[in-house]
Amino acid sequence: MEFMLTEEQQLIEDTVARLLEKQWDPRRDQALLSADVARLPLWHELAELGLLGIALPEEHGGGGMGPVELTVLCRRFGRDQLRSPFLSSLILAGTALTCSPLSALRDQWLRRLATGDAALTLATLEDGAGYDHHHTAIEGQRCQQGYVLSGRKRAVMDATGVDAFIVSCRLNGELALVLLAPETEGMAVASYAAFDGSSLATLTFNDVLLPEEAVLARGAEARAALDAALAHGALAAAAETLGACEGALERTLDYLRLREQFGTKLARFQALQHRASDLHADLEMLRSLVSGAAQSLTHEPAHADAFAAMALAVPVGDRVCREAIQMHGGIGMTLELGIGRYLLRVNALSRLLGDATHNGRLYLERMEA
């Protein structure tokens, strides 16, 4: 195994860090929803540098790299609090496409994704199904031109301005992934803001006509594509959580070194030193797991380790980001300082990709399989 970044991976990290430093100010840009970020010059620059499509197949304009490079990016996005459609479009939808069986439809969208010319998002969660992205009660009814769909999807990420949805449903009794454009007749998109500033939507299908050629994958192939997408999603969310924790802890340590009460630096209080040390040790565990899981995924796109990473990231993320607020005192509660934004983001990620119990269960099931 290789836990150190290669020179090339380090270069990617440095490039993104520099770009974000120059073009992304979480304080200034906090009014933007994640979906809007795709319209910023920053997004085009990421595309031009080949970073958006970094893990998409080379033959369709991607960078041909893999999960390790994805975690490098997501971790940096977490640290610098960039909320963007990277997770929804490039990771979740991008992996689902990449792992779908070859077709003209697939190839055409992959190319558009890689160039930053289009955004896609995955619509999988349904009412009453908790965090189970595999569960779908939407059953396509056969008709002459294909199928008719009715039902609802929830918590669809970055639906505003998206070019197409990859929707899970059941066709002829088996799982299928299908592609639908937002302007499709019978489809309604109701977008709303999430508490972390990302953009979510509820998708309603009312007798939507699904032509045969919009089907991306069915049966075992659909299952494999969705599995890979969710594993990559879990890994990316864990990496972003890790980055958020690193950013939060680093800023907290700086503050403890600076702030004085009772005539001494807060950093001198052993009660705080020990807590910071515990958080650091927690992060070393998470860092190791995220890095190891990224390598596992390189060999097997739906490897169970990704869910282990997210299962650990959820409680560690919550704890580190809560402690960051607490150790700042009153100023930790403020929007202006923005320490609380890390907590909002890690809490949102654990609601989108599933909590610790959910991911732990996926890990156990797959580990045993």
């Binding site: 929830r154 803001a193 979510l200 705080l272 009153g330």
Partner: protein, 397 residues
């Protein structure tokens, strides 16, 4: 002041529940149930209803509009009010300023300020903390210089809850810069409309506006608005009723929220069925419920100490520490049970039909409530300060 008999207590609780049921408007009841902030006007209107009922400040003497209730009856009153979902009134008017005026104010000052504080004709805020004086409050630097009948006040306060609502502020200022920390401080009442007072909003990280910064520039405060002697403000500020220290456990709030947790777990489901049937969540809810029960009995134990000894002393620090932690644990469990439902920002709840948020068990605003509760772990004696008190004064370390 004889204690309530069992049957009197039952009747009294019933009376309170009926009062809340008939007097709290539906819109406010919903806000309270959702753990949201009640507006300025709503708060004042509710306080005035309480005053009309004779319940505006039950721990004040009857002469000033209070009651002659026993400690136990007051406890029952506050507990039942919170359980019934009455909006909580910020503590500044009747719980903080009131007792201070009653103990240290002159007759004139009492006449002038108590009735308005009770009826909320004046909304009061608390100006203690400063940018460089937080946990170490005695390091405060806002300077008051005596000029004849006035003090000229310069400096500023921070983290002032509801200063943007306030008509008046009670504050601590430094009157003797030479004296040792606690010694040179005085307690002043300051009109927020005075020239030189300005209020800047500070937003919580999740958007709410409760906190403020108050800047004081050459504000002239009449000496008649000083409470107690000059340079004795520290003692004055500490005149918090022992009884109030029980309230920091927030046990009734925790119990009410536990009810919400159970309701959500019943209403929400995942692919395996209703959440309250899931073994892991049952264990989680049980853990929280056990803690809430312990908090309830701990608070009653505190009441017993208060009745027996007239004080709860350093036990208050354990109550505060665990009260905050257990309330946070209930909030976290609620947010976890709400799952995907908890994702929407507050504004989204206001703007979209509930139906489209797929919100089966009314999980609205649970995130806001959870993030709000980060505050009490920091304010008015942070967790760390409470731990220091326990280590030093209880454990003798």
């Amino acid at each position: 002041m004889t204690d309530l008999s069992r049957s009197e207590e039952i009747r009294f609780r019933q009376e309170i529940r009926e009062f809340v049921a008939s007097e709290v408007p539906e819109s406010i009841r919903l806000k309270v149930a959702q753990g949201r902030d009640v507006s300025r006007d709503e708060t004042i209107a509710w306080q005035r209803k309480l005053v009309a009922q004779g319940w505006g400040a039950v721990h004040w003497p009857k002469h000033w509009g209070g009651t002659d209730w026993s400690l136990q009856k007051r406890f029952v009153f506050e507990e039942e009010m919170a359980l019934a979902g009455a909006p909580s009134i910020p503590p500044f008017n009747t719980r903080m300023l009131g007792p201070i005026l009653l103990e240290y104010g002159t007759e004139e000052q009492k006449e002038r300020f108590l009735p308005g504080a009770l009826n909320m004709d004046q909304w009061w805020c608390q100006g203690y903390s400063e940018p460089s004086a937080g946990s170490d409050l005695a390091a405060l630097r806002t300077r008051a210089v005596r000029e004849g009948d006035y003090y000229r006040v310069n400096g500023g306060k921070i983290w002032t809850s509801y200063a943007h609502y306030a008509d008046w502020m009670f504050c601590l200022v430094r009157t003797d810069p030479e004296a040792k920390k606690q010694k040179g401080i005085s307690f002043l009442l300051l009109d927020m409309c005075d020239e030189g007072v300005s209020v800047e909003p500070i937003h919580h990280f999740y958007g709410a506006h409760i906190l403020n910064q108050v800047l004081l520039e050459d504000v002239k405060v009449p000496v008649s608005q000083r409470i107690g002697e000059e340079n004795t403000g520290w003692t004055t500020a500490k005149a918090l009723l022992e009884h109030e220290r029980l309230a920091t456990s927030r046990h009734a709030e925790a119990r009410r929220k536990l009810g919400r947790l159970l309701a959500l777990a019943k209403a929400n489901q995942d692919a395996s069925g209703a959440l309250h049937q899931r073994a892991d969540l049952k264990a989680r809810i049980a853990e929280v419920a056990v803690q809430v029960k312990a908090l309830e009995f701990a608070t009653r134990r505190g009441l017993e100490m208060l009745i027996r000894d007239g004080r709860i002393g350093v036990f208050a620090s354990s109550l505060n520490l665990k009260g905050v932690a257990i309330n946070q644990a209930v909030d976290e469990a609620i947010m976890d049970i709400a799952g995907v439902d908890a994702l929407a920002a507050d504004a989204a709840y206001d703007g979209l039909p509930r139906d489209l948020l797929n919100d089966g068990g009314d999980a609205r605003y649970v995130a806001e409530s959870r993030y709000y509760l980060r505050g009490p772990a920091i304010a008015a004696g942070s967790n760390e300060v409470q731990r220091n008190i326990i280590a030093k004064h209880v454990l003798d370390l």
